[in-house]
């Protein structure tokens, strides 16, 4: 077996609140309940560039390009430890709207209940130097993922919020660099201590069938996941004409090294299809539908 891609499962623990924003920003800054591939790519690029560069200024752009080519990330989803298992909560659009599902579909929470268990918000103001007090008009609220799960009945032990996801490595490249990362800073407001996550245990190689319980394809130009649920942001295409889709569309956007970054119109995580398909994870983190009858060209 000479597969192009190695798949590793990784689990992280939140050491601080985590903020991944959804535009627009304003008085209430909303937070995504997961870490997108693009955010993770940025964090991994920063860390690998710095730690492998001693005291000289790293070439972030070049290293980032290499990592885009050699590593593909699934999104990280919130997870919790039950006994010796780590169970991830993943989104799924159903007739009732967005739900979060855990433990192989045994447990469901509405988006509202899930966010209530996972998220908190913190008020913030800027300090006016002339009075050491809050500047007028700067009160804002930032939603963030808590380091601890909130239990609805308040009786159980509070458990740590973990993040579970997978990384695909082309020919196992960047393996040693990834193994060396034990802490990452992801998302926004890291200067307020937000977004510090630390790895729990080593990376585990995932078998052919185990990326979020779905079969994977490791022999193609881009790694593929066979699934009827989209757990990333999936590009639009002809595929959507041929089947029923339950989901939501989202236009991505954001910032890239100080300049606005214009994303594409996508189907959001949790989108559910009537037919399973192979989805490749592209260089920029998008999921892309692969036509069943035509093998992807190398």
């Amino acid at each position: 077996m000479n597969m192009t891609w190695t798949a590793l499962r990784w689990v992280w623990r939140l050491e601080a609140p985590l903020f991944v924003g959804i535009p627009p920003a304003g008085a209430l800054n909303r937070c995504r309940p997961y870490v997108p591939a693009r955010t993770l790519w940025g964090a991994v690029t920063a860390e690998i560039s710095r730690s492998s560069n001693g005291d000289s200024f790293p070439d972030y752009r070049k290293r980032g390009e290499e990592i885009r080519e050699q590593c593909r990330f699934t999104y990280l989803f919130p997870a919790e430890k039950r006994g010796d298992k780590v169970l991830a909560w993943r989104p799924l659009f159903r007739k009732k709207g967005l739900q979060w599902c855990c433990n192989g579909g045994e447990e469901y929470l509405s988006d509202r209940d899930f966010r209530r268990r996972l998220m908190g918000s913190r008020p913030g103001t800027a300090i006016a130097p002339e009075s050491y007090s809050a500047s007028e008009g700067t009160l804002r609220e930032t939603e963030c993922i808590n380091p601890w799960w909130r239990d609805s009945n308040c009786q159980e032990e509070t458990s740590a919020v973990l993040l579970l996801g997978y990384v695909f490595l082309r020919k196992n490249g960047f393996r040693s660099q990834l193994d060396n990362i034990d802490t990452l800073f992801v998302g926004g407001d890291t200067r307020y201590g937000h977004g510090r996550i630390s790895r729990v245990g080593g990376h585990k190689e995932a078998g052919d069938v185990s990326v979020f319980g779905k079969p994977i394809h490791r022999d193609r130009e881009n790694p593929g996941i066979q699934s009827d649920i989209i757990w990333g942001h999936a590009l639009e295409g002809d595929w959507q004409k041929k089947q029923m889709i339950q989901g939501e569309q989202e236009l991505l956007g954001g910032w890239n090294q100080g300049s606005p970054w214009r994303g594409k119109l996508t189907w959001a995580p949790g989108t559910f299809l009537t037919e399973s398909a192979v989805w490749s994870i592209e260089k920029d983190g998008y999921w892309k539908h692969q036509d069943k009858n035509r093998r992807e060209r190398k």
Binding site: S51, F57, G120, R122, A126, L139, T190, G258
Partner: protein
């Protein structure tokens, strides 16, 4: 252990409240201060958000470095273009704490120091033996004094665990109105007590250390916070405003807080479209700039209400070897 250099260093700090500390968002102008108390949403224990700390530390460092008030605060210039963050590569305040926008059209900078929240590590409660400083496994885990995997829960939930040495052989102790059985057989306590001492926490505190369960700790903290009533003064008349009475909570004097500052390597950043950071040269240098604020914390305080005799915090000198003998430490 990896031989590769880390891109950052994290420094631990602890401090003792010399006054009650109001656990707010740093503002006194918000009026209804009682609405802005910050608690951990899950543990319900008050904390001071990293964003508040970053703002206060910035202001005090700017004073220490004679960069006040321009390089403190939000950094927006006046309408005529004067003032605001200087944003220069040799400004210790702007490089360490970031700046709002660059010179000309280039973007701002997030800064080299990141502040964690300040967590309650040890909480003082009155007992028949004088004040006792209480903590719990969760508080210890959050501060990194014990790794989460190494620190299990307490054997018994309704018990106060103390060290064997020097602790009077009392069968029970009252913490406020709460009577608890005292035990000395929780093994990790010896090592934890030693790590707490290494943070520079004075002996009068470490000798009165007690550990309770997470749930009991939440209870003890929330029922022993200082609650004060104050009145808002109308600046126009100098008299109390009508219906302006408000109450607020504060962490009591003697509370020990813990926080971490993550300091990045300045060599990995360029600002204002390609300039090297000149003000600091290493993560340790970033830390030294931040510590310039510490004497001001002790005199001017944190969390607003400084004029009401609140908020002064003494930052302790850690005795851990990796933090010792750094140049530029503040003398007490």
């Amino acid at each position: 252990m990896s031989a590769e250099p880390r891109s950052y260093e994290t420094f631990s700090f602890s401090g003792v409240a010399l006054d009650p500390i109001h656990v707010g968002t740093g503002g006194t102008r918000l009026g209804r201060v009682d609405n802005t108390i910050v608690r951990d949403p899950v543990t319900r224990i008050p904390k001071i958000p990293g964003s508040s700390i970053a703002g206060v530390m910035r202001a005090y460092t700017a004073m220490a470095k004679e960069k006040y008030p321009n390089c403190a605060g939000l950094g927006q210039p006046e309408r005529d273009g004067a003032g605001g963050h200087c944003g220069s590569a040799d400004c210790p305040v702007c490089t360490v704490f970031g700046f709002a926008k660059g010179i000309g059209s280039s973007g701002g900078f997030a800064g080299l120091a990141a502040f964690s929240d300040m967590h309650v590590l040890l909480f003082p409660v009155a007992s028949q033996l004088g004040p006792q400083w209480i903590t719990c496994p969760m508080a210890l885990r959050q501060t990194g004094i014990a790794k989460p995997s190494e620190l299990g829960d307490l054997p018994e939930q309704q018990v106060l665990y103390r060290k064997t040495d020097g602790a009077e052989a009392l069968p029970s102790l009252n913490l406020g109105w709460l009577f608890l059985q005292v035990k000395t057989d929780w093994q990790p306590l010896e090592e934890i007590a030693q790590k707490i001492e290494e943070l520079g926490i004075p002996g009068y505190i470490t000798s009165r250390l007690g550990v309770v369960s997470d749930k009991l700790f939440t209870h003890i903290v929330n029922s022993n916070l200082e609650v004060r009533t104050s009145v808002a003064i109308d600046p126009a008349t100098g008299a109390a405003k009508k219906r302006a009475l408000f109450t607020y909570e504060a962490l009591p004097r003697g509370t020990v807080l813990f926080w971490e500052v993550t300091c990045r390597n300045p060599k990995h950043f360029k600002i204002n479209g390609g300039n090297k950071v000149e003000a600091v040269g290493s993560p340790g240098g970033v830390r030294d700039v931040v510590t310039k604020a510490h004497p001001y914390l002790e005199h001017l305080g944190i969390g607003g209400m400084g004029s009401r005799g609140m908020g002064r915090l003494r930052v302790l000198e850690t005795t851990k070897p990796d933090d010792a003998d750094k140049s530029g430490k503040e003398d007490k």
